[in-house]
Amino acid sequence: MEQKIAVKVDDLTVAYNYKPVLWDIDLEIPEGVLMAIVGPNGAGKSTLIKAILGILKPIAGSVSIYEKPYEKQRSLVAYVPQKGSVDWDFPTTALDVVMMGTYGSLGWIKRPGQKEKKAALEALEKVGMLPFKSRQISQLSGGQQQRIFLARALVQDASIYFMDEPFQGVDATTEIAIINILKELRKAGKTVIVVHHDLQTVPEYFDWVTFLNVKKIATGPVKDIFNDDNLTKTYGINYKVSIQE
């Protein structure tokens, strides 16, 4: 059976302040995979996601989502930014942040109503944050804040999820909770793309992986390509990870 391609990246080149961060990236992400993007610091992992989502303008290259340009397929895509990218002292509640996930489908001016609130509450329930819905966001722990971000993406009810380091600075319970939700998403046929730091957990969490270090080193199923050879190519030093069978 031919697998559908969810995200296709062609010859993408991005420069940040005119310093090249990504070079000529070609990437095809099949539908329904749970993919990790790994690479050393400064390898352009976050940049890749941001360029795909149109937050950064590439110098060259194109991105298509289910064979159409990204701009036309926004509703199919949800995004979980890095937790550190926002001001958590902002005067708003957990529920309010999750409601923001509905703003895209509402479009300009229209206000969220009962339907949107219900969706947001359901998403909060899914991430186990319903009891905290009225909490001011600065009063949440790092793990809880990450769950709020995840809930906000879930509300978007997308087909493809992009997540930027969702496991950074979270407690063990949250990490398990998040990975369970990601696996559930995959089971429902969604595509999930995660910028990931912890190489040890790659084989356990993901079924697809992309090695990135300014250039794309390799991409494919974890069982085929997650090996010392590719790790060394990506991280530059003799890298060995004990993969448990």
């Binding site: 989502l53 926004r74 995004y79 001001d87 902002f90 708003t92 509640t93 895209g104 001016i109 229209k110």
Partner: protein
Amino acid sequence: MDLQEYFSLVFSDYTLRTITLGTAILGAVTGMLGSFAVLRKQSLLGDAISHAALPGIAIAFLITGAKDSNTLLLGALVSGLLGTFWIRGIITKTHLKSDTALGLILSLFFGFGMLLLTFIQKQPNANQAGLDKYLFGQAATLVESDVWLMAIVTGLCLFVLLLFWKEFKILLFDKDYAKTLGFNTKTIDILITSFIVLAIVLGLQTVGVVLMSAMLLAPAAAARQWTNSLSKMVFLAAVFGAFSGVFGTAISSSQNNLSTGPVIVLVASVFVVFSFIFSPSRGLLFRQIRFIANRRDLEQQKTLAFMYHIAETHDNISHPHTIKILNNFQGFTRKTLQKLVDKEYVMLDGTMWSLTQKGFDKASNLYNQQAKEDE
């Protein structure tokens, strides 16, 4: 005129009513928009914009020769916007940082404005009197048409704010995310900035170039302490701003030789100090109280835990011990011991203490909880 007289006159006296209404509306609109400036970490932008507006006033006067405040404000608006965009240009296109860009535009535009003002003052024909009111503001020169203009702008601002509330909020909180949802963040950004510039320019006549930034910041900073909701914060900031305007006007008109601008700013600053200290959730006072209470609880628990460990070694938990052995323990004070007695965890008999059954259960509970959390 004393304060009482002021409040009895404010409804009947035309001038007083105009001024009070003007400062109140100004306070409300700057408070409202100031909330956005504060949350976007652009607090000092207001200071730069208000200073940058000065040459615009002078140039508008040089061109038209008119003292009509609307013409001058138009000049101020153009010049303020120019300054704002130049600041952006400096930050995005050079390696100079935002603080340098702000300081540059602020001082350079202001100095140029002063050059023009002194130049105008030396002109023989000019009826320039009144131009320097823009330095420190003169609420007394407000006339009904000025107040109408303020009211219209405030109404417009309120309308736009309500219309694009959702967009403003998401831009303020998470700009990148807003972009992925398909919102044109540049448009929202320009909309907010333009309104902030407009509000500043409106306030120049009343509060003046030098102190205008405080009108933006102070009500918003005070409001932030009382609420964790953006809408309530904006509303409260407007209320604080309006009250600062009214009280400031009242105080300055009840005294001789007091210009309105500095008094309004001081009233607003009092709001800030009060909020910093007395806000129940964030304020310094309650934070300190909570801190002390927490420490006391901790000390009590520590003492109790220590007693528990001693009592554990005896068959009879209520076996008495001397108080002395507690002394070398950190959490212990006479006071905490008394508190434990009050709670019937401990019985005192002269210089001896003993744990009650209740105290023992409590301590073992605490101990188990701790062990659980450590796992």
